[in-house]
Structures are given as C-alpha cells and as structure tokens.
C-alpha cells in the first residue's frame, strides 16, 4: 500500500494544493462584489457639509433630551437638525437613523419617531427629507432611544440610490 502512496505522492501533493485553490478561485467573483456592497460610511463633523445623493447635508443641531420631560420616561429623545441643500434633484427620500454602539457594545439603529413623544417639531422645520426638488430647507427629526444609553449619537443619512455609500454626521 505504501508503494502506491510513494508512487503517487506528487499527484496527491498537487491535489492538496489545487483543491483549496479551486475553492478560492470559485469564490473570488462573489467575494469582492460582496465587499463592495457593504455600507461605506462617510464621517462628517457637525458644521461641515458633505455632498450626498445630489444634495449638501450639514448637521446644525444634535441634542439628547431626557424622556422624563417629554412623556416617555423609558427613553431619551434625540433631536437632529440638518440643513439640506438639494443641488441635483433625485426622486427619492433620504432616511435618517440614529446609530450608536453605546449600551450594547455593537451598533444599533433607531428610526425616526416624530409622533412617539410630546416633543413637537416647530413648523419652520420639515420633518421629511425629500430630495425631489431643488432648494435648501431645514429638517428637524426626533428619535427615541433607550434612556441613559446614548450620550454621543450619530445621525446616519441613507438615500437608496446612493448605497452602499452612507453619511454619518456627528
């Protein structure tokens, strides 16, 4: 039996190399496009402006309010204020979320919650981020996050046509 092994050792060695190599080669057309599809966040400081999905976004306000004062004692209210200047209109709405890894150790996301607390957005602000018409407008959106868990929120802006690129304003 060992004679057979010795006689075929180079072929067996080649097999040992070629089998994993063929798996790798087969996965390449799937792996790199997958990597490219992962969300790529562009970080933007408050006051700075970034162009995204044909509009200029600037975070002008970001506060964390105690939910006890706004009818939601189990939560805090994060209020984000942005200036959105639509330069090249796109028929889309941009979605805003609050992102934070505080409290859980991994990133969690909270959606817009305009009607979930006593916080009323003043009339001079839009509560919907539509990129369909050219022009500049102010957006203010409240979010509900777990109480005392989010001290440094980040606002993520997502426009579906511009994925995987997203903006993170903080």
């Amino acid at each position: 039996m060992s004679a057979w092994w010795r006689a075929n050792r180079w072929y067996l060695l080649a097999l040992l190399v070629l089998l994993p190599a063929s798996v790798v080669v087969a996965m390449i057309p799937r792996w790199f496009p997958y990597l490219e599809r992962q969300p790529a966040a562009e970080s933007v400081e408050r006051g700075d402006t970034a162009r995204y999905s044909g509009a200029d976004f600037t975070l002008t306000g970001l506060e964390v309010l105690d939910g006890d004062d706004w009818g939601v004692p189990e939560a805090d209210v994060v209020v984000a204020t942005l200036v959105v200047d639509v330069v090249e209109p796109v028929e889309t709405v941009c979605e805003l979320q609050v992102v934070s890894a505080e409290g859980a150790g991994f990133e969690r996301f909270w959606d817009e919650a305009p009607y979930s607390s006593d916080y009323d957005v003043p009339d001079e602000y839009e509560t919907r981020c539509s990129l369909a018409e050219a022009g500049s407008f102010d957006v203010r959106i409240p979010f509900l996050v777990p109480a005392d868990e989010v001290t440094e929120p980040v606002v993520q802006v997502t426009a579906w046509g511009s994925l995987p690129r997203v903006l993170r304003l903080h």
Binding site: E74, G103, E107, R108, F109, W110, D111, L144, P146
Partner: protein, 186 residues
Amino acid sequence: MRARVAVPAGVGLVLLAFGATLFTPTDEVRMAPFPVAAGIGEEVASQHHVATIHEVALADVVELDGWRGTTSGVWLVAEATLAGYVERTTVGVDLFVDGVRFESTPRADSDTVDGRVVDPGLPVTGAILLELPRDILDRPGATSAVLRLGAAGDTRLDSVIEWRIDLTALEHHAEVELDRVRKGAP
C-alpha cells in the same frame, strides 16, 4: 471490472439514481430558519429580537381591552416582552404541532404584542394569541409544540427564537383577561 460485479453494480447505480429524488432535501429543510432555543422566563436574543415569554396557558375565552374573543377551538395565550436587537423589526409568531402551522390571530387588531414593530432597547410587553383546534391536546405532537418568533412574513433562512412547549401540561382556563400592550418589562 469483472463482469460479475459490473452488472449488479450497474443495476445498483440505476436504482440509486432512481431514488435520488427521495434523498434530495426538500425546500422545507434547505430553507429552514436558524432557531435560538429559549425556555419560559428566559431572555433570549436572535439577530432580530430580544424576547422573554413569561407565561403560557390555554383558554376557552379571552378578553382584551373590550374585545371578547370566543373560538370553536381553544386559545393559546402567552405573555411576552419583546424588543428589537439591532434595528427596528416587525414581529411574527407561529406555533407548529406535528408539522401543522398555526399563526397568531389577526382578530385582536393591534392589541397583541405581535403584528407590530419593536425597537432596540425599548421593550414592550403584551399578549400573544393563537387559535388552535379543540382536539389539539389529543395530537401526538402536542407534547412538543414549537412556538416560533421571527420577523413578520418570510422566516426562511432567517434568525428566529423557538420555545418548545408541552401543550398538555399547560393550565386550561375558562376565561382569561389580558392587558393591552404596554411599554417596558412586566
């Protein structure tokens, strides 16, 4: 190859090919969700939810915020606390007994804790209700029913939480009064 081996081997291979469809895993197996097992009273997380089921029982009639639910079968009643895990998620609940699927009732509007969205870190507590046939306790699978919690709709290849429940060991009430969904743990 010796002829004596070749012919039976050939026939054997044909039979194997003939039976290939018998051995192919069905869609039900290939597309099954990935469950996280949970016990009553235990807080468990899947990729979508953080959930605790506090109590499970059977009832003939349920009352929930003015709605009186009667049935020709029997109600499975559970009280649960649910939250999202990473992001806002929908909630869907099913019960499986001997491969038969029962879904949480659409009859109670939005007063049950399923059929809504939940957010991370913001738990809500409320009732889960399912209608089951009157003879469910006589079925062989009643001692190992599976209650599954996932995102609403399609749970194929998705992360779900499952509780194994012995329906025959549950308390059976004539009537149960339930509370509407409220924020926080019970």
